[in-house]
């Protein structure tokens, strides 16, 4: 659904078709925010980035990989055709007291902070690429013809969020509660349709 269509439907539902109380810019911002909240709850937006393996580097900052990265869910060493296993600092400490000094082809990755992660071991020389599949924040819609990044059947969720925002601007307690509840219900549906329900039913049958 295009932004202009979604905006018109939100204005209709708020009984503010002229967009006097809930301006066009404010509705546009609420659509962008709705997509953020949906992405945060469902992890529905997935993208891929490449990052050069740097000499001596154990730690990689997310903002040096991609501007829209929320968190990686798969890291692949292109050079070795190998998925990096997840580990943790405490596990590495029990593996080797000198793990930070160990060099070699990276085969594990571990969390440190929300904005950077580590790999083990660190490469002694630069070269090779990490393929990083990640859950992304959505991009802001650029213009009225821009489409939201969701299946067409799920456009009700940002619609509900937009109306919820309109109710919040009016300090309408009951309206806020009602539309927020509706949005949460649609969020569950969105999570299912962009996740497990994307897989064909036949693949999930009980094995005899």
């Amino acid at each position: 659904m295009k932004r202009s269509d979604l905006r018109a439907r939100i204005a209709d539902a708020c009984q503010d078709t002229s967009m006097v109380f809930f301006s066009q810019a404010e509705i546009n911002a609420s659509i962008d925010e709705a997509m953020e909240v949906i992405a945060e709850h469902t992890g529905a937006i997935r993208r891929t980035a490449f990052s050069l393996i740097r000499e001596g580097a154990n730690f990689y900052f997310l903002n040096s990989i991609a501007t829209d990265i929320m968190y990686p869910y798969r890291i692949w060493n292109e050079h070795r055709n190998q998925r990096l296993q997840t580990t943790s600092i405490i596990e590495l400490d029990s593996l080797s007291r000198l793990w930070l000094d160990t060099s070699g082809d990276p085969d594990r990755w571990f969390p440190v902070s929300w904005d950077y992660f580590g790999i083990y071991p660190h490469p002694a020389a630069a070269g090779g690429v990490l393929r990083i599949d990640y859950i992304a924040w959505p991009r802001d819609l650029l213009d009225d013809d821009d489409d939201i990044e969701l299946p067409e059947s799920l456009s009700d969720a940002p619609l509900s969020y937009g109306v919820y925002e309109g109710q919040a601007r009016e300090w309408h307690d009951q309206g806020v509660a009602q539309w927020w509840a509706m949005f949460l219900a649609q969020l569950g549906q969105t999570k299912a349709k962009t996740g497990i329900n994307r897989v064909q039913q036949s693949d999930l049958r009980r094995r005899n």
């Binding site: 953020e36 000499e55 903002n63 400490d93 007291r97 902070s113 992660f117 806020v176």
Partner: protein, 439 residues
């Protein structure tokens, strides 16, 4: 999404409140915004940074009485010990014995600053205590020379029956400490003075050059200066862009010299051979020799095949992530800490809450709206306050989740704890009748 400032966020908050400061003042909203920022960062524990300490521990000021801290500024160590019900402050044990009428005995050395251990000629009767930075929230890992140290407690170690805080050796244990908050202790202790990086002339802005036992070289993609100049007086309104000063100032004679031999001559010394002086990078084509790079500006990145130089942003000011390196640390022969942090100071309107993802700024708005709608008086909306509080809490939960970046990729399974190798080392406990052992 571009980075917005607190000002933009407060405008949006006021817009929702339909108030331009009559009911909720701008200053009040800013305070709540800062409260929300602190709560989000602290409660999630998702902002983690490395921090290094050279040994022995350093602190900004030391005093005899605790009230002196008010005037010390920065980290403060009370180096004397109270006696006679707090009426007297003593340096040595024998002072107490003397004051109480007992026969004085020899006492351990005493120091004001712990780096004096280098010169104390032996262990002192005080704890080896490190002072945590202002941004510190929680310790996650302590290491010596990159090797993890084991967490312990004074009660556990006291069973060894010795003055463990005096034992010299490789630091292996850390403990919360017996003294003031925001400190921790380590043992065994290192008494030799260590300093990995020293900021020479730190009153003169940013670091321009690195030197030491390691080899450093600079490279710059910007290799061409716009003009060359002799003295600062040459820089006028007609000269624009990047300038390169090709002279050296001799402070004794107040002359500006091109060559080293000129400086030598002015000082009456033997003339030394001086390298060719260049004004522009393109002169290399004429001279047929390579001209050293003209590094322009401050260092933006440091790399090495042997180790990683990791930028760590602790502050949260305007475009904090784009700044320059203000301090340097190393884990080599030093104590390093992985810690959760909070912002070191309150945000101003021109700042950005740079310690959290840009997309999560909205949760700070929710926090402010929760407090605004919850405040007694005009504009109170308890239901909205409760709703926004719940939404803020969702933000805390989300940021906590993001703190574990591998959560989606990790397959959890039950494991036996404690993990082998990280538990405190067991020590033998001898019967009370056993002769005392001094290390």
């Amino acid at each position: 999404m571009s980075q917005t400032t607190v000002k933009d966020e407060l405008d949006e908050i006021q817009n929702r409140l339909h108030d331009q400061g009559a009911i909720w003042t701008r200053a009040e909203l800013l305070r709540w915004y800062n409260d929300g920022y602190g709560a989000l960062v602290a409660d999630s524990g998702a902002v983690r940074r490395f921090y290094t300490f050279s040994v022995p521990p350093r602190f900004a000021a030391a005093g005899s009485f605790i009230w002196e801290e008010r005037h010390g500024g920065g980290t403060f160590r009370k180096f004397m010990k109270s006696a006679l019900g707090g009426n007297i402050e003593c340096s040595y044990e024998w002072e107490v014995e003397f004051l109480e009428g007992a026969t004085p005995t020899n006492s351990d050395p005493f120091v004001t600053q712990l780096w004096e251990l280098e010169y104390a000629g032996g262990a002192i009767d005080d704890h080896y205590r490190f002072y945590l930075p202002k941004s510190h929230e929680r310790i996650l890992r302590v290491a010596w020379d990159d090797k993890r140290m084991f967490g312990s407690s004074d009660k556990e170690i006291d069973w060894t029956g010795s003055k463990w805080w005096q034992r010299e050796g490789e630091p292996a244990f850390w403990l919360r400490g017996l003294d003031r908050d925001k400190t921790f202790e380590v043992y065994d202790i290192q008494t030799a003075y260590g300093q990995n990086y020293f900021l020479d002339g730190d009153g003169f802005g940013l670091a321009r050059r690195l030197s030491g036992t390691r080899s450093y070289s600079a490279s710059s993609s910007y290799r061409s200066n716009d003009y060359a100049y002799w003295t600062p007086a040459d820089i006028g309104t007609f000269l624009q862009g990047v300038g390169w000063r090709f002279t050296k100032h001799d402070s004794v004679t107040d002359f500006d010299c091109m060559y080293q031999w000129e400086v030598d001559m002015l000082a009456g010394n033997t003339l030394t051979d001086s390298p060719t002086v260049f004004m522009y990078y393109w002169e290399a084509e004429i001279l047929g020799s390579e001209i050293p790079t003209f590094p322009v500006g401050a260092p933006r990145a440091i790399s090495s095949p042997d180790r990683q130089y990791l930028p760590m942003a602790y502050d949260t000011g305007e475009l904090a992530q784009l700044g320059a390196a203000r301090d340097f640390g190393s884990t080599k022969d030093a104590i390093s800490l992985l810690e959760t942090i909070i912002s070191t100071r309150d945000l101003e309107e021109d700042d950005s809450p740079a310690l959290i993802p840009v997309r999560m700024y909205k949760y700070l708005r929710f926090y402010v709206w929760a407090l605004a709608f919850g405040r007694t008086g005009e504009g109170q909306r308890p239901a909205l306050a409760k709703h926004y509080r719940e939404r803020f809490n969702q933000g805390v939960a989300l940021l906590k989740l993001l703190g574990d970046l591998t959560h989606r990729d990790r397959d959890y399974q039950r494991s036996d704890l404690p993990i082998e190798g990280i538990a405190p080392m067991r020590r033998p406990r001898l019967p009370a009748t056993y002769p005392r052992i001094e290390y």
